[in-house]
């Protein structure tokens, strides 16, 4: 039997086991929406802006490890989606984005709602396709899902002209896909792995530096086993939080621009650094020149060869899938009679404890004004560290990363690479739909939340009972902090005047809200938000926090790991 392109699209998604499609209809995708209307294999979530569709699919993907799916129309639908696509691309999140396109004969005619979607998205997708022949449609979907989820994951866009969704052809979904030009490696080079193990066993001041690749490849168990087996300290990047339990004594927390003193000092002064699914980016190691001032050997494990030796030279590169490589290393270490020099390791761990005793995350616990750090500590306490936390971008993001001690992977969901304000709320929708019973909180600022606030309506329509933790300091806090430190306290356009009454706003959308002005009310408000009574409701908590609070430690741009500004 012949099916239309729209029906084939829907069948392909069903074949891929898609649970949710996040989207927004429009002219070019009307046929696809008509086919969606007539099926029951997956649910469609109607967002209020296409950017949110992609972020929601992204949040779903980050929380589950499965490929997220978004559907948008041509022209403005596609351009609105671009920020979401670029966000997912920077953080290597597997997505398939379906965009409508004007009918094939209209392409190039400056037709209504026409834009060169494949051209616009090319630099921010892992791959994209324009389907010009309906006979290629099913195969293109198979390839798209395969490319998105394998190797270093990433978003893949499929652009479908409207006439293709009307044409008909026989449908059969390919069982397998093979691409001669795309064969991601999985197994690491055994010789290199042996060299790496030897280097680890001979280390005197070892350090494990684990990034988002550990989360993406579900390698947290292997990473944890390796660190504990060797007794080596471990730091996680912003993207890697939860890859190693924050509560483990070997954890030194996050490193980087707002990393802990102990993590940054330990990385800078290590003699053997093993980077796992991390890419030495500018926010993590600061200036490479400063990084090179101390000598150390570097082992770098990553699935993407282009991440290796990009910003820093490494001694032992290992290209492969992180869990497989780590499992191989663990096997070799267990089989070896050698063990690291325990006396040296003890000295090193003692040094790290000394750095830790600097208590770099301390803040005024007796303030009359709500300290944002305090809210996050209480959030951790009341959710027993077991919530999924999404964030937007800015100070609140860094405080959440520092103060919500993540013990499990896929619990911390933020836009680390692109730094997209407006990510948190729609991402939390995807997380909550993926884990209906779980506690999901969006930690946000009053700047970020307003970038996708319209999604409160989506939450109402689909009964998404997430909790919004707004750390409201009436400033674009991170901008204000930089202006204070580096621009002579000239606060250009960083003050947020005429903010809405967020409680009334939440109520206007049909949700519950509360404004919290005093530290004494913080705990009660959080308990209320996460109470059984509010379990089915979205709760919007507007915490009026200290306007002058800064994120410490901080490595100024262009400076090195040990050049932190401390509180």
């Amino acid at each position: 039997m012949e099916l239309t392109g729209a029906e084939i699209t829907v069948r392909c998604l069903a074949e891929e086991g898609v649970e949710y499609v996040f989207g927004y209809p429009g002219g070019a995708v009307l046929n696809i929406y008509d086919a969606i209307y007539q099926q029951d294999k997956f649910k469609h979530v109607l967002v209020r802006h296409e950017q949110a569709a992609v972020h929601a699919a992204d949040g779903y993907a980050r929380a589950t490890g499965r490929t997220g799916v978004a559907l948008v129309t041509s022209g403005p639908g596609a351009t609105n989606a671009v920020t979401g696509i670029a966000t997912a691309y920077m953080d290597s999140i597997p997505l398939v984005i379906i965009s409508g396109q004007v009918p094939t004969p209209a392409i190039g005619m400056d037709a209504f709602q026409e834009v060169d979607t494949v051209g616009i998205t090319r630099p921010c997708v892992k791959h994209n396709f324009l389907v010009k022949d309906i006979r290629d449609l099913a195969n293109t979907f198979k390839k798209a899902f395969y490319i998105a989820a394998t190797g270093r994951p990433g978003p893949v866009l499929v652009d479908i002209p409207k006439d293709i969704t009307q044409f008909t052809t026989e449908f059969s979904y390919p069982k397998k896909v093979s691409l001669r030009s795309y064969n991601p490696v999985t197994k690491g080079h055994s010789g290199q792995i042996k060299r790496a193990v030897q280097m680890l066993l001979e280390a005197k001041r070892p350090m494990i530096y684990a990034g988002g690749g550990v989360i993406l490849s579900d390698a947290a168990p292997q990473l944890t086993e390796l660190a504990r087996l060797l007794g080596f300290p471990c730091t996680n990047t912003l993207m890697g939080l939860g890859g190693f339990p924050a509560s483990d004594p070997l954890s030194v927390g996050m490193l980087g621009m707002h990393g802990t003193y102990e993590a940054n000092m330990a990385v800078q002064h290590s003699d053997v650094l093993v980077a796992i699914g991390a890419r030495f980016d500018d926010r993590v190691i600061g200036s490479p020149e400063h990084f090179y001032q101390e000598e150390r050997k570097i082992i770098h494990i990553d699935i993407d060869p282009s991440s290796i030796s990009k910003r820093v030279r490494v001694d032992v590169p290992i290209v492969g899938n992180v869990p497989e490589v780590l499992a191989e290393m663990i096997k070799l270490i267990k089989a070896s009679k050698e063990r690291p020099d325990q006396a040296a390791l003890k000295t090193w761990l003692t040094q790290i404890e000394l750095w830790r005793s600097r208590d770099c995350l301390k803040y005024d616990r007796h303030s009359d004004i709500i300290k944002p750090q305090f809210v996050l500590e209480k959030l951790h306490e009341i959710t027993r560290g077991d919530a999924f936390i999404t964030s937007d971008v800015g100070q609140h993001q860094m405080w959440a990363a520092q103060f919500y001690k993540f013990d499990k992977p896929r619990r911390w969901i933020n836009s680390g690479g692109l730094g997209t304000m407006g990510f948190g709320l729609p991402a939390a929708m995807g997380v909550q739909l993926a884990h209906p019973g779980a506690m999901v909180a969006c930690v946000t600022g009053e700047g970020s939340i307003q970038m996708n606030i319209q999604e409160l309506a989506t939450c109402k329509q689909f009964n998404i009972p997430l909790k919004i933790i707004l750390l409201n300091n009436r400033y674009l806090g991170m901008v204000r902090q930089w202006q204070e430190f580096f621009y002579g306290e000239r606060y250009a356009e960083s003050y947020m005047d005429t903010l809405p009454d967020f409680v009334k706003l939440a109520e206007a959308y049909g949700h519950a809200g509360r404004r919290i002005d005093n530290p004494a009310e913080v705990e009660d408000a959080l308990k209320w938000a996460f109470s059984a009574e509010m379990k089915e409701k979205l709760v919007f908590l507007d915490f009026r926090t200290d306007q002058s609070e800064n994120v410490y430690p901080m490595i100024p741009g262009g400076k090195g790991l040990s050049e932190m500004i401390l509180v």
Binding site: V118, G119, R122, P123, K126, H127, L130, K132, I147, L179, R180, S181, Y182, D304, P305, S306, S309, K310
Partner: protein, 163 residues
């Protein structure tokens, strides 16, 4: 240092723009780029001439390999290879120049492929530096127009780039 990167890619719409876009997005130099289908119509062969320090060239090859459409890639400059480029030059061929241009073309093994009262069009192939040398040898005032294809390259002997 100059590098000649040769690659095979799927002969798909937009393949060229993926490569060109990569170079501009990451700020890599591109001296010339040529592309045409091969005997296998599903594959295009591209030759890219670029310059940069070793780390940059390493990144360029890795980033190119990362493109889904790229099937195979080789940096020809790493070993024995042959580089050829085609150039067409239109020169003034009046008066004393008429004889001079013919002589220069012969010395550089060019061929005059179009003749008018006032001009010659000379066809010449060779490595880029030979074509440069020819242009340098001509009186600048005599050159009316030049067009170059950019380099094509192939490995020497049994060094073969096939899918």
């Amino acid at each position: 240092m100059k590098h000649i990167i040769s690659l095979l890619m799927e002969n798909e719409a937009g393949a060229l723009s993926r490569v060109a876009g990569l170079f501009s997005a990451r700020g890599y130099n591109i001296e010339s780029l040529t592309v045409a289908p091969t005997e296998d119509a599903t594959l295009s062969r591209m030759t890219i001439v670029t310059r940069g320090p070793d780390e940059v060239i390493e990144q360029i090859t890795k980033q190119l390999n990362k493109l889904i459409d790229v099937v195979k890639l080789v940096d020809l400059s790493e070993a024995g290879h042959i580089e050829r480029e085609l150039m067409l030059v239109k020169v003034l061929a009046e008066g004393e120049w008429r004889e001079e241009m013919k002589r220069m073309s012969d010395i550089f093994r060019g061929r005059i492929i179009d003749v008018t009262d006032k001009t010659y069009t000379i066809e010449m192939t060779g490595a880029g530096h030979k074509l440069d040398a020819f242009l340098d040898a001509l009186d600048k005032n005599a050159i009316l127009e030049t067009v170059r294809t950019g380099a094509s390259g192939i490995g020497r002997g049994d060094r073969i780039l096939k899918s």
